[in-house]
Structure formats: C-alpha cells, structure tokens
Subunit: 248 residues, 2 copies
C-alpha cells in the first residue's frame, strides 16, 4: 500500500517533505494566518491540506516546537508561541541569582531617542549606515536593586510611532510589547559576552563606582526568516547574580 511519496512541492535540490511542510507552516506564521497564542489546525487537518501523512506533518511540527516557535499541548492542540505568557515573558533572560532562583525584573525606562545607525549597528541589523533608528535606555531591577542597564536599538522603519509614552504602557518585556503592538515575534537571539569597566553613565544608573567590572551582553534578536530586528547591549552587575548557560 505505501506508494512513493507524492512530491507535494518538488524543489530543485532534494528536500525532505517534512522540511517543505515546515517551510509552508512558517510562511503561514509570517503571513499571520495564526496569531501568537492561537491554536494552529490539528495534525490531521494539516495532513489533509498538504496531502501528506500525519507523521510527516508531525515531524515538521516537532522541528518548530523544538525551536520554541510552536508549543504542543496534549489533548488540546498545537499553539503559536508567544512572549505574552507569564512564563515566557523573559524567555531570553539568562541572569539568575547565585542561589539559582530566576527572579522577574522590574523595568524603569530612562529615555527613548531617535537617531541614526552607526556602522556596527547597521551591520547587525542589516541596515544602511545612517538609517533612522530608535534607541531605548532602561534599567532592570532585581529584588529592588538596579542590576542591568540596557541600550536597545530598533529600526524606526519597522516600528512607526514608537515613543516613550507607548513603551511605558508595556507591562513587562519589550518583546511582549512589540508582539502585541506590532505583531512582530522574536524567535531567536545571538549573544556575545565580555567583561568591561563601568563608565560614568552606567555607574550612575546602577549606583556603583566608575570602573566596577560589568558583564557586557551584546544581543542581536531575530524574527522569522532570520531577519535581525533588535540590537541590544546590556551592562550587568554580577554581584549576587550570574549569567547561566547550559552546554551540551
């Protein structure tokens, strides 16, 4: 009974069917066919739509679930992941207290400015040097202590009308805010860590002495299709806290 796989989307070079399905699902996500937090159609429905077996759809969904783009819930369905849910608010935050607890930070915004992209940021965000950008400064406090000074840079073109008023309304994380206000989901990020000395500005904001060693965390965050959307530099006081990472 098993006939050779019906080539649903014959591509030039060989691609497994489940990989093609994965691409189709991703395109539907980009197009906004299913919004963050919503359920996507059942595996059986998708199998019928794409004319493949349930097992093949399953493998495509498995891949997207392992990237935290979709979330499976047994007995209920498969959902589009969202930064809005409490547990995923600070999904990318790796700072934990030395005792191992993962605290939720409290945000205070310092300013929101408009400016032009320098060479480094332009390269990171795939913009032209001098392209208009928005720069946000904020401080994250853990257990009442200011610990992280963030500089966040976004392309103005992608986020029209973004200003201090708008952003201050956002409860919690920036990503949750960008998702609800602009429908843009962050799916992965790259970070580069260094040790630096606190400059005058950082010292003032974190209430420490100039020259104190700080953990500098540079991040580029990506949305669907590996499109870079945010550049960020976090300066973190690692006193009682550290950046946690697992290697496998």
């Amino acid at each position: 009974m098993p006939k050779p796989a019906a080539a649903a989307l014959p591509g030039p070079s060989f691609r497994p069917l489940y990989d093609q399905i994965k691409i189709l699902l991703t395109q539907s996500l980009i197009a906004g066919e299913w919004k963050p937090g919503e359920a996507i159609p059942s595996e059986m429905e998708l199998a019928a739509r794409y004319r493949v077996s349930q097992g093949t759809v399953r493998k495509a969904i498995d891949a997207l679930a392992s990237e935290s783009i979709l979330v499976r819930r047994q007995g209920k369905g498969t959902y589009v992941a969202t930064h809005t849910e409490p547990n995923y608010q600070y999904r990318f935050l790796r700072i934990i207290s030395n005792s191992g607890e993962k605290h939720h930070p409290v945000t205070s915004f310092i300013d929101v400015k408009r400016g032009k992209a320098g060479a480094e940021i332009a390269r990171a965000l795939a913009l032209k040097t001098g392209a208009p950008v928005i720069t946000i400064h904020r401080v994250l406090a853990f257990a009442g202590r200011p610990l992280i000074l963030d500089e966040i840079v976004l392309s103005s073109a992608l986020f029209p009308g973004l200003d201090m008023d708008k952003i201050e309304q956002s409860r919690g994380s920036i990503y949750s805010f960008l998702e609800t206000a602009y429908g843009l989901r962050m799916i992965r990020a790259e970070e580069r860590l260094r040790a630096v000395s606190a400059d005058a500005f950082a010292a003032k904001q974190l209430k420490i002495k100039t020259g104190t060693p700080l953990l500098s965390v540079d991040r580029i965050a990506f949305t669907y299709g590996d499109k870079p959307v945010e550049w960020r530099r976090g300066l973190c006081l690692t006193d009682g806290y550290s950046y946690y990472n697992e290697l496998a």
Copy 2:
C-alpha cells in the same frame, strides 16, 4: 497487524517504550559495551535485541543524538561521540574572536596540585568537604596571546595517578585526555558567568594589569547519569574575543 506494544520493560509508572530503550542504551554506554568513537549496533539489530520496531529504536537514538551522546552517520552507522575527534576537541569552548572565527587554543600547564575540597567545590562535585582533590592550573593562548587562565578541580578518587607528567602528554583538551586515560566521558556542562577584576596571579599569567576586567566562567561538567565530575573556573580576557551563545 499492529498489536499493542509488547511491553519490553514494564515499569511502575508509565514510560514510553522509546524512553526505556534510551535508558537501556545509556546503561550499555556506561558499562562500556561500546567505547567512544566506536559504532553501536545497527537500528535493525537493536530493534531485534529489544523486541521493538525500528522506529522505536530510532526515536531513542534520536534523543541521544540530540544530546550529542551519539552521532549518526548516514550510510555508515551510529557512533559513540568522543572528545578525541578534532572537531569535538573543544566542544564546550564558547570563546570566539570578534570576527567570528573559532580558533583552537594552545595549552600551557602551570601546575598540578593535590589538596582538599572546600565547601563550594565539595557541593558542586557532590563530595564531602575536605575530600581529596586535584587542582590544575593552565593557560590557554589564542593566536599566541594568553587569554584564559583556568583552574580545574577534579576528585582524586576518580583519577588515580593523575599528575603533571601524565597531563602534559595530553594533546589538546582535558576532556579528550580524561576520556582516553580514564574512560570517563563528559556529557554536558553548566556555566555561570560573572565580570570580575584580575587579581595578582591572573594578571601575571595573562600579562595584564591587576584590576583589568575579566570574564569569570564557572563550570560544572557532568558525565553519564548527571554525575558532576569537574569544577572549573576560567578567567578570560575578553579583548578581541567574546563568549558566544545562542538563545532559542
């Protein structure tokens, strides 16, 4: 024709078959039935041995492969991962140059001493405070520059006869050496990063000024069964280099 799965290993609480197979495979690995670098039996053979279908064995192997415990090679077989192979020599090293290249470091050993475990290390390695340990100091140089000062602590009980002479013979990474000399494979590691100031010893070894900000990387490395085996503190000069991490 599909009968209810023959319960190969009926456990008290429910466990999927492929999970039980995964455990059996892991036990064989611990027992040394298949050594690092060797091929394990084919999926068909394993399916016959455990009286399950090929697909179930496949899923168990998939899990182990995703943890980098096994390595699949199409057309050849499935192999036990090893730190000995060139590409995996520095599998856990996340320091890369700012241009993005991953250089291979050159190791020089400073000393190998015997001592007793302090409270912190005893906790990390699940030993009693005061248990005998071996402490290794070394420097890693990138492109001729000393960049990382490592302090490596191992339980003496696990590594009899380990001394400076032995360890200096080891080409490349410590893990590669421990694997060949003691048959002990590191499976995964946890790291905690902080920013600190260079003390006199670090300054001397890295040829920098005292007080220079350094990236402090504390690591606990585990072997099979999540058994902690190594505690390590790396002090890294992040000048032209950074610690790279991907978040998903």
